[in-house]
Structures are given as C-alpha cells and as structure tokens.
C-alpha cells in the first residue's frame, strides 16, 4: 500500500485527465482515508473548489460535524491562503503537504502571489479593499452575543 503522500500525488495527476487542476487532498482519520478532493475550479465554474475545500466539505458531511478533530490532512501541494484558512476553521490535528507554493507558482498558479497580497496594506493590494465605516457595523455581532442558544464555531 502506497503512503498517503504517494496516494495524494497520484490523485493530483489523475485529476488532470478529468479536466481538473493538478491538485488533490486526502482526509485521514484513524489510519483510513475518509474523504478525497481534487481541484474542480474550471470543471464546476467554482473558484472555491480547490482540492482541500472539496475534501473538507466531503469529510464534514461524512462525519456530520463542522470540525475535523483528530483528522490528518494530506495535500499534494502547500495549501493556498484560502485553503489554509479553511483548514484553520476545520481544525484538523495535522496538515501534511508535498509540493510547495513555489512549485505551484512555477506552474502558473497564484498561490504565492496571494500570500504576498495578504501581507500588504489594503491600499497596496491588486484588488482594492475599502472599509465602509458605518454606525451599525457591530449590530450583527451584538445580536449574535444576545442569542442564548448560539452554536459557536
């Protein structure tokens, strides 16, 4: 049986033949793969359908939970900022990755660029980000904190 790293690299290669991007992810719990994901951005016209996002959603459906407690994630490539953020929200135990953001950049993907953009002040980013100051800005949070049966996540 191949290692999880070998499996996820093979899945990333297989994704290309299915008109997906060259990326894959596995979610492993108690030594078994509980979900896989490959990049479906262009096939599903969904810019959020990266391998890790697809795998996280499938694993959470399988577990009936919005948390990946005790799970390991294997990614064929270092997660981009979107996927890294998703992983921090899903809270697995560990994240393993094979290729790096620089390998992805060399193949024409924006992972490294987006990491760089996140570090910049708003005014210097390639997509302008504008803070609208509004007296009601915090109303949703005030209402949330008043809800006694809120489910924190």
């Amino acid at each position: 049986m191949d290692s999880f790293a070998a499996q996820v690299v093979r899945l990333a290669i297989e994704s290309i033949a299915k008109d997906g991007g060259p990326f894959a992810a596995l979610i492993v719990k108690d030594g078994a793969v509980i979900a896989t994901g490959t990049n479906e951005v262009t096939r599903n016209t969904d810019p959020t359908a990266h391998a890790e996002i697809v795998a996280i959603r499938k694993a959470c459906r399988a577990l009936g939970s919005f948390q990946l407690s005790g799970c390991d994630v294997y990614s064929s490539c270092e997660p981009c900022p979107m996927c890294l953020g998703a992983l921090f929200w899903a809270r697995p135990a560990r994240i393993f990755f094979v290729a790096t953001r620089d390998d992805a950049a060399a193949a024409g993907f924006d992972d490294s660029l987006i990491y760089h953009q996140i570090e910049l002040p708003y005014a210097q980013r390639s997509i302008p980000m504008i803070h609208i100051r509004d007296p009601h800005a915090s109303l949703p949070f005030e209402e949330w904190l008043r809800k006694p049966d809120r489910i924190e996540y």
Copy 2:
C-alpha cells in the same frame, strides 16, 4: 433604497434568526445584486460555508464563470483569510467591508487569530504543518504543463 452596506448588515442580522452565523455578503454587477450569501457553517455542518464563499459560488453559477470580473463584493465584515483567498481567486473589481477582524474577534470569531497564524513559520503554528519531501512532488505540475488544452484559472 438602502445602500449596499446597509443591505449587507441587515442580511447579517437576519442570518442569526435562521441559525446562521452573523455574517453576510453581496455580489454586485452593473449596480444590481446578482448573489447573496450568509454564514451557513453550523446549519450545513460545513466550515467553508462563510458568507463570501456562499455568495461567490452562487454568483459564479449565475454568471457561468469562475471569475467575478467587473463585480463588486460587499461583506458585512472584513473577509477572513479563507474568504480573502477565495476573493483573490475569483478576482472581482473591488471588495467593500463594514465591520473589521477586530470586531469579529471581540464576538468570539477566529478571523484575527488565523491572520496571525498565517504569518508564523510552520513550526510555530497551532496546527502543525509538515512538508513531506518527495521526488515526485512536481509530477502533477509537469503533467499539467504538458496538457495543451489546459484551462488556466
């Protein structure tokens, strides 16, 4: 007619009563709202179902495109790193937000924590990230670059 900022704040408040998180997003094209999203993390047991991700997916389905070219995004709160990454992949024209990551943190949300984690070296992160060095790491990218009809995204 309310401003888009007022509309998105109201939608975030309405989300709470529907067992969603206190967040909303609008996608606007040519002056009209083409998609809305609210936070569905706990309702759909999906940690990736933040308002912006939900709205991006709906807007891309509506447009039949994996890009939000020429669109403006209004978010009730500064996008978290996951949503910011998703927005950089979707490439709208501009991003407007009302509350800030600090407002979100004060209400118990991890947005600010995750921004901080992304800046740390792997070894210092709260979820360990492990780079598996593998001689086949770049094979998916080599295969991708050999595919003549690849759709870049």
